[in-house]
């Protein structure tokens, strides 16, 4: 061993011995935050007032001192205390170990102007213990009536229970460590971009518009209007106290365009009706009147107890680990296409794991994956996800994500393709909430007729090497029989490939 290597090795051992603490950054930032808050309360005029009143000086002298000190106090307050703005929200949420929001979603669904009742919406996230609880609302709007199917997912950090409030059933799943982390993180992501904002950039659009008091706390009100599409404007209002407490969130929307005719890839025409009156009223979209961070968690919030009158399909004891992305989407009886997990990288490209098979075919997929190299064309699976595009009909731009092969894993005899999709133009922020539409083609002789709509999630946002190693490689390991990620896949290598694809598509 050379002297250089010897010292290198010793220093690496020393680094390992010094160690790192997962919570170190969080702890430091919390201590800084706590100090900021305590500094704030030290300069709070009320405290000054109370201290002064305890002073033994005469009333007259006290009055003079009060006036002078109060003015100084106010000046200190204005110039040295932290005053939170909307752009601080991610940080405020990020420091919280527990987040709870509760409110209502409003629906204005039918052309006939049917009134449908608002639906309750609530989400709990315990980031420290990777537990969560939330409800999903599926809306079936028929010509005469509107039905809601509410599913509730509750995780106690080991298991999750999905309650279907429509058919009154419950099912349990065990969760792997990766799933707990992925789903807790996804829950936080949905809180930002599902419940509250359509994207992160919107926080910069807010302006302070006034002050309002709720339950004895004074909040700054922040508002903004954003044109979501040529047809629709959204308005947002957020109540944020200067000490960083959230009070309430409301959003409204207004349709301003003409009826839209939409022609899909098969020349089928769809008509989506809108108010053709640009003076149409603002409609309330959601109203969350409880937004709480760092609160005590009530005992029963994450308790997995099947409600009375519900049928349990299994029990915790015989629950199995749900594979990532198990929601098979059978298109025809023999053809399957299953997106398993997705990640969006800092440069906008997307890593998607997917599986496709023809259950009637006896041919092994081995040969499709033989000789595939990092960055080459995708394997010719029965249904091939050759690209992605931003989901949602509101997107009028031209962005296509072109796919290349990264690696594959194999789990329970199934080949799982890990592809990289690189956008050929800047992607819209709407992807954060709407995800990506799948562009697919059939690589079989008898192509089925008709089309299917398939959307994949934005997934977890990855912008560091550490996150890539933890989440992406972790997911690859979980979807491998040997529990290991394929060798040679690194964050830098993937970003380099994305850059090469961008450069080649620009030329």
């Amino acid at each position: 061993m050379t002297a250089k290597n010897n010292i290198d090795e010793k220093l690496e051992n020393l680094s390992h011995a010094i160690g790192s603490d997962d919570k170190f950054v969080e702890n430091v930032m919390s201590r800084i935050e706590a100090k900021s808050t305590s500094n704030l309360s030290k300069t709070n005029p009320q405290n000054i007032w109370s201290n002064i009143m305890k002073s033994p000086i005469s009333k007259l002298a006290a009055a003079a001192v009060i006036v002078i000190t109060f003015i100084i106090g106010l000046n200190n307050f204005q110039f040295s205390s932290p005053v939170y703005a909307m752009t601080d929200l991610p940080e405020l949420f990020g420091q919280a170990k527990v987040i709870h929001i509760k409110g209502q979603r409003h629906f204005n669904l039918t052309d006939k102007g049917q009134k449908v009742p608002p639906q309750p919406s609530e989400r709990w996230i315990d980031l420290e213990n990777e537990r969560f609880r939330f409800s999903n609302i599926t809306v079936n709007a028929g010509p005469e009536e509107v039905n809601f199917i509410i599913r509730e997912t509750i995780s106690d950090g080991q298991y999750k229970m999905i309650l279907n409030h429509a058919d009154k059933t419950a099912i349990f799943y065990k969760m792997s460590d990766l799933q707990k982390r992925l789903e807790t993180n996804a829950s936080l992501n949905h809180l930002y971009f599902g419940h509250l904002f359509p994207n992160a950039d919107i926080l910069n659009e807010f302006s302070r518009t006034g002050k309002e008091e709720i339950d004895g706390i004074m909040y700054d009100t922040w508002e903004c209007e954003v044109r979501e599409s040529p047809l629709r404007i959204n308005r947002y209002k957020y109540w944020l106290s200067r000490t960083g407490n959230s009070g309430r969130f409301q959003s409204w929307y207004k349709n301003i365009g003409q009826p839209l005719k939409f022609v899909d890839d098969n020349d089928e025409q769809h008509i989506i009706s809108f108010d053709d009156d640009s003076q149409s009223p603002w409609r309330l979209g959601c109203d969350f009147d409880r937004i709480e961070c760092g609160i005590e968690i009530p005992e029963d919030v994450f308790m997995l107890k099947v409600p009375e009158g519900y049928t349990a399909r299994n029990t915790k004891e015989n629950a199995v680990i749900q594979e990532l992305g198990v929601q098979d989407r059978p298109y025809l009886t023999n053809l399957r296409l299953t997106p398993r997990v997705s990640f969006t990288l800092s440069d906008g490209s997307v890593i998607l794991a997917w599986h496709s098979e023809d259950s009637e075919s006896t041919a092994s997929q081995n040969e499709l994956f033989e000789n595939l190299e990092f960055g080459c064309a995708l394997p010719k699976l029965p249904i091939e996800i050759y690209g992605l595009r931003p989901a949602g009909w509101i997107w009028t731009g031209e962005v296509t994500y072109l796919g290349r092969h990264l690696v594959y894993t194999k789990r329970d005899e199934k080949f799982i393709e890990w592809s990289l999709y690189v956008p050929d133009n800047p992607a819209p922020n709407s992807s954060q909430i709407l995800g990506y539409d799948v562009l697919y083609k059939y690589n079989i002789e008898n192509k089925p007729e008709g089309t299917m709509g398939l959307t994949v999630d934005y997934g977890m946002y990855i912008d560091t090497k550490e996150e890539f190693n933890k989440w992406v490689l972790g997911a690859m390991a979980e979807l491998s029989d040997d529990g290991k990620a394929p060798e040679g896949v690194t964050y830098e290598k993937v970003l380099r490939l994305a850059q090469q694809i961008r450069e080649s598509s620009a030329n």
Binding site: L11, V28, M29
Partner: protein, 175 residues
Amino acid sequence: MVKTDAELVKAVLDGEKQMFAELVRRYERPVRAVALDILGDYHLANDISQEAFVKAYEKLVSLRKPQAFGPWLMKIARRCSIESVRKNSRAANLATNNAAIAENPNGRLDEENQWLLAAVMKLPKAEKQVVMLHYFDQNGVRDVAKIVGRSVGTVTKQLSRARIRLRKILERSEK
């Protein structure tokens, strides 16, 4: 894209408080190393390291040369550690601590690592910083160069010199 210390410091001073978290992440191990060298106890060093970062944050506005954040932070960590030793009535408490640590092998560096850490601390300021960023925080040479605002060539030379110095110090200590 790696940001320099100076860029991060400037961003924090401009109100982007969350950027300080990146500086904490970057210097977590180097600061703990400084504290560990003085205090000997991992847990105490961890606590004092946090305190050093909080102090650095509070005093950031007084940092005249943002590019010198690393060495400046090390000084604060050193001062906090020495202050902690003083506060804990040195003789009695350290003896107690060491007894407790001896029973807890995870709480203390082994002898070889103690020597090596002491040797790293004896390096000239610039070399110490690049060694810590390269080895303790696992940054590549290019990233270290970017962080400290020096050329890749300079950082490579500093690392090379540091290795020679460390070898000599360790050889001397072994004699």
